[in-house]
C-alpha cells in the first residue's frame, strides 16, 4: 500500500502560493507517521522552475498545454488519473479558489473520502488524525483519516510556511498526462483588479487607524506599515469624518464589514458601532493607550502603548523580515 503523502501545489502566474508550503509542512508530519514520502504534485506547462524551495522528497511534474493555467476541468482530469493510478495515502489540496474547485470532484469521481477546512494534522500510533475548524472558527472537529486514501483541503494557520520550504531541490519525475480532450472549461483571460479604490472587505490584512492617529500627517506612518505588510489601510469613523481617508475605507456599522486574516486596530477604542464591522476577522491585534478600551475585549493580542511610538519600530522590523 502506498504510504506517500501528496501535496497538490498551487501556483498562479509563476508564483507558488503560501498554502502549498503550509501543506508541505503538514505532509512532512504525516509522512513521518506513515513512513512514506512527501510528494509535491505540480501541474503546468513549462513550469519546472516552480520546484525550487518545495520541501518535498519528490516532485511529480505533469506537463500539458491545457494545464498551463489553472482550470477546474483540466486539473480534475489530470489529478483523477494520477491519484487513481498511484493511490497515495493522503492527498492535500488548498481550501482555496484552486483546491476547492477540484477536491469535491475528485471525491466523487474516485469514491474517496474528503475532509475540508483542515487546520492541522497529527499522528497517533498508526492513525493519521485531522482537526478541522468550522463555523467561523467557533467549532473544531477531529477525526481519523481513513485508509487506503483520503483527500483533505487545508486552511492556513496550523503550520508555518517556512517548515514546508527547503533549500534542497527535490527530485523531479515527469508524469505523462492522459489525453485532455473534451475539456469544458477554458480560461479566456485574466483581469487585473481595477485601479480604483480597493474593496477592504476583500482584503486579508488590514491596518486600521482611529482617533489615536491624532492628525492627518501621522497617517503616513500607518501607510508605511501597511506597505511593508502588503496590507491596505482602513479606519474607524472619526478618521473618515475628518476626510483623512475616503468613506470606502470606513469599517463598521455605517461602513463596511471586513473579514481579514489579521486586523490591526491602532488607536481605536472599539465602540460597538466599529466592532460590528470586524467580528469576521480571524485575528484582531489592538494597540491603544487605554487599557480599558473595549477593543481589547475582542482582540486576540493587545498592546498598551501609543501607536505612534510603535509604528516606526514595527515597520522597520517587518521590512527586515521581508527582506526590504
Amino acid at each position: 500500500m502506498n504510504q506517500d503523502i501528496y501535496v497538490i501545489v498551487e501556483h498562479l502566474r509563476g508564483q507558488v502560493a503560501d498554502i502549498s508550503y503550509v501543506m508541505l509542512a503538514a505532509a512532512r508530519l504525516l509522512a513521518q507517521g506513515t513512513g512514506g514520502k512527501v510528494v509535491a504534485v505540480i501541474l503546468g506547462h513549462n513550469a519546472r522552475e516552480q520546484v525550487v524551495g518545495l520541501g518535498a522528497d519528490q516532485v511529480l511534474y505533469l506537463d500539458h498545454p491545457s494545464l498551463a493555467e489553472f482550470t477546474s476541468d483540466a486539473y480534475l482530469k489530470a489529478l483523477a488519473g494520477l491519484i487513481s493510478e498511484n493511490a497515495p495515502r493522503v492527498v492535500l489540496l488548498g481550501h482555496t479558489s484552486v483546491g476547492m474547485d477540484v477536491a469535491s470532484g475528485l471525491s466523487v469521481r474516485l469514491s474517496l473520502p474528503l475532509v475540508s477546512q483542515c487546520r492541522s494534522v497529527s499522528t497517533d500510533n498508526s492513525l493519521l488524525k485531522f482537526i478541522s475548524q468550522i463555523c467561523g472558527g467557533k467549532i473544531m472537529a477531529e477525526g481519523v483519516l481513513p485508509v487506503p486514501t483520503a483527500l483533505m483541503t487545508m486552511v492556513p494557520g496550523g503550520f508555518k510556511p517556512e517548515h514546508g520550504w527547503s533549500a534542497q531541490p527535490p527530485e523531479v519525475t515527469p508524469v505523462t498526462v492522459p489525453t485532455m480532450e473534451g475539456l469544458r472549461v477554458t480560461l479566456k483571460q485574466y483581469v487585473e483588479p481595477e485601479a480604483g479604490d480597493v474593496d477592504i472587505s476583500k482584503e486579508q490584512i488590514l491596518v486600521s487607524v482611529g482617533r489615536g492617529i491624532q492628525n492627518q500627517d501621522n497617517l503616513e506612518l500607518a501607510q508605511e506599515l501597511a506597505d511593508a505588510l502588503g496590507a491596505v489601510m482602513c479606519a474607524s469613523r472619526p478618521v473618515v469624518d475628518q476626510g483623512w481617508l475616503p468613506t470606502t475605507r470606513l469599517v463598521g456599522k455605517s461602513g463596511k464589514s471586513v473579514k481579514p486574516k489579521v486586523y490591526l486596530a491602532l488607536g481605536i477604542s472599539g465602540a460597538p458601532e466599529h466592532v460590528e464591522g470586524i467580528t469576521g476577522s480571524d485575528v484582531i491585534i489592538a494597540v491603544n493607550t487605554d487599557p480599558a478600551a473595549p477593543i481589547f475585549d475582542v482582540a486576540r493580542y493587545g498592546v498598551e502603548m501609543d501607536m505612534l511610538d510603535l509604528l516606526p519600530v514595527l515597520t522597520e522590523q517587518v521590512r527586515q523580515a521581508t527582506g526590504g
Binding site: R211, R237, P238, D241, T247, L250, K253, S254, G255, A271, P272, E273, P294
Partner: protein, 401 residues
Amino acid sequence: MATIAFSQSPSFSKTFYSSLYKVIEGERIQTCLQCGMCSGVCPFGYLMDFPPGRMIAELRANTFDRVIKADTVWMCVSCYACTEVCPAKIPLTPGLMTRAKEELLMAGNIPSELQNALENSQRYNNPLGESPRKRADWAKGIEPEVKILGKTKQPVDVLWFIGDYPSYHPRVRSATRALAQVFNALGVDFGILGPEENSDGDSQRLAGEHGLFEVLAEKNGRAFGKYQFNEIVTTDPHAFNALKNEYPALGISYPVRHFTQFLAERLDQLKPILKQEVKARVTYHDPCYLGRANGVYDEPRALLKAIPGVELEEMSHNRNTSLCCGGGGGGMWLDGFQWEKAHVRLSEWRVREAVTTGASILVVACPYESPRFEDAAKMVQQAGQLAVKDIAELLVMAMGD
C-alpha cells in the same frame, strides 16, 4: 425649448396621493399652501432634491415618480419638525414622508445599512442583530432580581417595556440599569418580558416597513396577552409612541406611559431619596417622540428640578423646536448614507447648542441619544468636558449610592 419630463406612470402619483388620505387627517394635504415652512424647518431640507413642500408640488403635478427615483427621502429623520410648523396642519411625517419611504422600500431602493437593520429585526426581533436569548442579560447582577414574567408568572403592577438599544447597546445598558435602580428604590412592582420582548417596531415603521412593524407588533401583542399587569411603562419614547398611537389600530391596546411621566407622578416619593447634591448646570434635550410627537415636555423637567444642586438651562431650540439627534425614522441606520450627502451630523449641531448653554451635562431621555451625542461630542472641539447622561442616570447620581 425645454423638454418637459413626462412621468412614466401618471396614475402612480394619483394612487399615491389618494393613499395618503388613509392616514389620520391625511386629506388635509389637499389644503397645502405651498408656503415652504416645512422645507425650511427640516434639518436636512436644504439637501433633499425633494423636501416635503416640493414633494407635494410633484404630487399635484402627477410627477411623483421622480421623487421615488431620487433617494433623498432617506435624509428624512422623521423628527416631526415639519408637521409641527405646517399651518394647514397636514400630518406630514406619518402622512407623507413615511408613505414615501414605504414606496421606495417596495421598489427596493434602500441603503444597505438600513437593509441590515430591517433584516436583523425580522430574524432576531431587534435591529442590532443580537441574540433574542440575551435580551435580558443587561439585568444580571441587579438586586433585587429583575422579574422576568415568563419565569415568575405572577401578576405585576407595571410591565416595563425595555426596548432594543436599552437591552443590548453597552452604553445604553447603563441607563437601563440606572432606571431599574430608581424603580427598586421606589418600590415599584415591575416585571419585564425579557427574551419574549420584541422590537417595538416604530422606527422600522417610520423607515417604510409597515409589514415588518405589524409582524413585530403582533408578536409583542401575543406576549402581552400572556401576563397580567396594570400598565406598560417604556424606557424609550419610540416604544411609547408605538404602543400609545399605533398598536391600538392592530387591536393591541394597553395604558402606556414613558418612564418620565411615571416618575413625575411619584415626585413625592422620589424627592426624599434624592439626597445627594448634583451641583451642575445641565441642559435637557427634548426627544422628538416624547416632545413634538406626544407633547410630553414638563414631566422630564420636573424630575430635573427635583434634583438638588441642578441648574437647568434651556438650549435655544427647546420643547417643540428641539433639534433632532438624527436617530429617528430609521436615521439610526442611515448614518453612512446621510454622511455621504451632508458631511455634517445633526447630533453635532445639537451638541454645539448644548455647549453654548455652558452646561456640563447634556441630559437625554431617549436611548438613541446617549451614544449619538457622546459620539458627536468627540468631534465637537469645545465639547471635551460635556457629559451626556440619561435622566435615570442623573437620578441615580442624586440617590447617592
